[in-house]
C-alpha cells in the first residue's frame, strides 16, 4: 500500500492512538495525513506525544486529545498545543502514563475496566468523569481504588523498522506498540523496509514482532520518523526539533514551517 492509501483509511473523527516520541512515531505518515486534509481527529497519546501532536493540533486537525503529557522534551513546551489550550480550540482529557497503558491492556483482554493503584487525590482523577473510585472488594479494611474503562482506539498509527511480505511487523522491545495494535480496531504501520524473512517464524525475532493478524495496512517510508528518531536506526534531529520549537512559537512561524515541510510535498 502507498503512504497516501494508508492515511486515506483514517477517517474524520477517528480516535487515533500514537506512541511516545522515541518508540517510533509515524511522522512521514503524519505529513501525508496533513496533505490529505483529514480533520476532526481525536488523538490518544500512548502515553505522551510531542512534535506529532503539536503539528496536527497547530494545523487544526484535532478536536480532542487524551494524554499524560504533550511536550517537546528538551526542546521545551509544545507551542501549538499550549496555544490551542489557551484559545480553547481543543478538548484536553488529562491522563497519566500508567492509566493509558492499563486501559489499553483492558481492551487487549476484552474486559470492560481495569483497577489501578495511585492517582487518588490528584486533580487528574477529579477531572475525569469517566473514571471511578470503588472499594477494593478483596480488602478487609477500607481500600479505595481507581477503575479505568477500557480504551479501544479506532486506529493505531506508528513507524517501525521493518515488516515482512506476510504483513508481520518487527518493533523490537517497544512493546507498547504491540499493546496499541492489540487494542485498536485498525493498525496502520509505516516501516523503513520490507524484508524477505519471516519475522514470526524466526525464534529470535518473534518476541519483537507483531503478527499480521493485528496489522491492517503497511506502507514503506524510509526515515519515516524524521525529525524524530528510530531506536537502533537513527537519532532524533535535534537541530530540526529546535527549529520547529522556535518557529511554532507564533502562528505565522508555524504556518511557514508547515508550508516548507508539508505543502511542498517532499521533505528532504
Amino acid at each position: 500500500m502507498t503512504l497516501r492509501e494508508l492515511v486515506a483509511t483514517i477517517g474524520e473523527g477517528d480516535l487515533v492512538a500514537v506512541p511516545r516520541e522515541y518508540s517510533g512515531v509515524a511522522m512521514e505518515a503524519t505529513r501525508e495525513l496533513l496533505r490529505a486534509g483529514t480533520g476532526g481527529l481525536r488523538l490518544l497519546a500512548v502515553p505522551t506525544s510531542g512534535l506529532q501532536a503539536d503539528v496536527l493540533i497547530g494545523a487544526g486537525r484535532v478536536t480532542a486529545v487524551e494524554a499524560a503529557a504533550i511536550s517537546l522534551g528538551e526542546a521545551g513546551l509544545a507551542p501549538r498545543f499550549t496555544a490551542a489550550m489557551r484559545a480553547g480550540t481543543i478538548t484536553m482529557l488529562d491522563s497519566t502514563c500508567p492509566a493509558v497503558h492499563a486501559a489499553l491492556q483492558a481492551a487487549e483482554k476484552g474486559v470492560p475496566f481495569v483497577p489501578l493503584r495511585g492517582i487518588l487525590g490528584s486533580d487528574v482523577l477529579a477531572r475525569r468523569d469517566d473514571w471511578r473510585v470503588e472499594q477494593n472488594p478483596f480488602a478487609e479494611g477500607p481500600d479505595p481504588i481507581v477503575l479505568l474503562p477500557a480504551l479501544r482506539p479506532d486506529v493505531a498509527l506508528f513507524h517501525a523498522p521493518r515488516a515482512d511480505r506476510e504483513g508481520n511487523v518487527w518493533v523490537g522491545r517497544h512493546r507498547e506498540l504491540a499493546t496499541m495494535a492489540h487494542a485498536a480496531a485498525r493498525t496502520l504501520v509505516t516501516v523503513e523496509e520490507v524484508v524477505d524473512v519471516d519475522l514470526v517464524a524466526d525464534p529470535e525475532l518473534a518476541p519483537g514482532a507483531i503478527p499480521a493478524i493485528y496489522v491492517s495496512a503497511i506502507a514503506v517510508a524510509p526515515r519515516g520518523a524524521w525529525p524524530l528518531g528510530l531506536s537502533g536506526h537513527y537519532a532524533a534531529d535535534v537541530d530540526e526539533l529546535a527549529r520547529y520549537a522556535a518557529a511554532a512559537r507564533s502562528e505565522e512561524g508555524f504556518t511557514a514551517w508547515l508550508d516548507e515541510h508539508v505543502s511542498a510535498g517532499s521533505v528532504r
Binding site: R20, E21, Y22, S23, V46, P47, T48, A67, A68, A69, I70, S71, G73, E74, L77, A78, F81, T82, M85, R86, A87, G88, M92, D94, S95, T96, C97, P98, A99, H101, A102, Q105, L116, R117, G118, I119, L120, G121, S122, D123, V124, L125, G141, P142, D143, P144, I145, R173, H174, R175, E176, L177, A178, T179, S231, G232, A235, V238
Partner: protein, 243 residues
C-alpha cells in the same frame, strides 16, 4: 555557562546523590537531566541500578512503556524524581497548568506518571531549578501528584526532599511541611526566604549545600555526560563544558 551556574548545578546533583544512598534501583523519567546525572553517580558509587527512560542502553525495559509502572506497583523501584511547573509547601506537584483555560492561563505539559509514581515509590525527590515565588507557591493551582494522602489511602511513600537552584529542603510527611536544610553556593537563608512562596521551617544556622567530590566531578564530565548524551544532548554539553 558561568562558574556559579556550574557550582549550583553540582550542589543540586550532590544533594540528590546523598538521598539515593541505600537505594537498589532508581528510575529516571522524562525531562530529568539533573536527577539522571545524580543517579549515574549513585551507580558509580554504590552500584545502584539505574533505569532511564528513552536511553537505549540505560532503558532496561523489555515489556514496553508500562513496565516501569508495573515495577513501581510491585515495590521494585526505590526512588523516583519529579519536577513541576509549581511545587507547593505541602509537597504537591502541579504539571497541569495555572490560571483560567481557555483564557489567559498557562498550560503545562501534563502530569506524566506523577499521580501514580508519587504514591507508589518510597523515596520521591522533588526538584526544580527555577526557585521563585512563581514556581514555589503556598498552594498549587492544580494537583498532579499529591504530597500526602489521608489515612486509608494506599501509599508506599512520597516526597523526602525538594532540591532547587537555590536551596535544599527536607520534607516531613506527618506535618506536610518543608524545612530548609541548606542553601546553595552564592545564596543566603534570607534570600531563599524572599524567593519562596510557601512557608517552611528553618534552623537558626543554615549551612551551604556541600559540593560534589572531585571524583564525582570528573565522572560528570566523562562517563555521565556520555551516558546522558542520547537523551539530554544539551545538558551533556553543559556538563562537559564545566571545568
Amino acid at each position: 555557562m558561568t562558574g556559579t551556574d556550574a557550582a549550583r548545578r553540582e550542589a543540586m546533583i550532590a544533594a540528590v546523590v546523598r538521598r539515593l544512598e541505600g537505594c537498589r534501583t532508581v528510575a529516571v523519567g522524562a525531562s530529568s537531566p539533573m536527577p539522571a546525572a545524580a543517579s549515574l553517580l549513585a551507580r558509580a558509587r554504590w552500584d545502584t541500578r539505574v533505569l532511564m527512560l528513552g536511553n537505549d542502553r540505560l532503558d532496561r525495559f523489555t515489556e514496553g512503556g508500562r513496565e516501569l509502572f508495573d515495577l513501581a506497583a510491585q515495590g521494585r523501584i526505590d526512588a523516583f524524581f519529579l519536577s513541576g511547573g509549581q511545587i507547593d509547601g505541602a509537597g504537591n506537584v502541579n504539571l497541569l497548568g495555572v490560571g483560567d483555560l481557555p483564557g489567559d492561563g498557562q498550560r503545562f505539559p501534563g502530569s506524566f506518571g506523577s499521580p501514580y509514581l508519587a504514591m507508589l515509590v518510597p523515596r520521591l525527590i522533588l526538584f526544580r531549578e527555577e526557585h521563585s515565588l512563581r514556581t514555589l507557591p503556598e498552594r498549587v493551582d492544580a494537583i498532579s501528584a499529591p504530597g500526602t494522602s489521608p489515612p486509608g489511602v494506599y501509599r508506599r511513600g512520597g516526597p523526602v526532599a525538594l532540591i532547587t537552584g537555590r536551596a535544599v529542603f527536607a520534607f516531613d510527611p506527618a506535618r506536610a511541611r518543608f524545612t530548609l536544610e541548606s542553601v546553595n553556593p552564592g545564596e543566603t537563608a534570607r534570600g531563599v526566604r524572599a524567593a519562596t512562596g510557601f512557608s517552611y521551617d528553618e534552623a537558626s544556622d543554615v549551612p551551604i549545600s556541600p559540593p560534589l567530590e572531585e571524583a564525582d566531578r570528573a565522572r560528570l564530565r566523562g562517563q555521565v555526560a556520555d551516558d546522558l548524551d542520547p537523551v539530554y544532548p544539551r545538558f551533556a554539553r553543559a556538563l562537559r563544558a564545566a571545568s
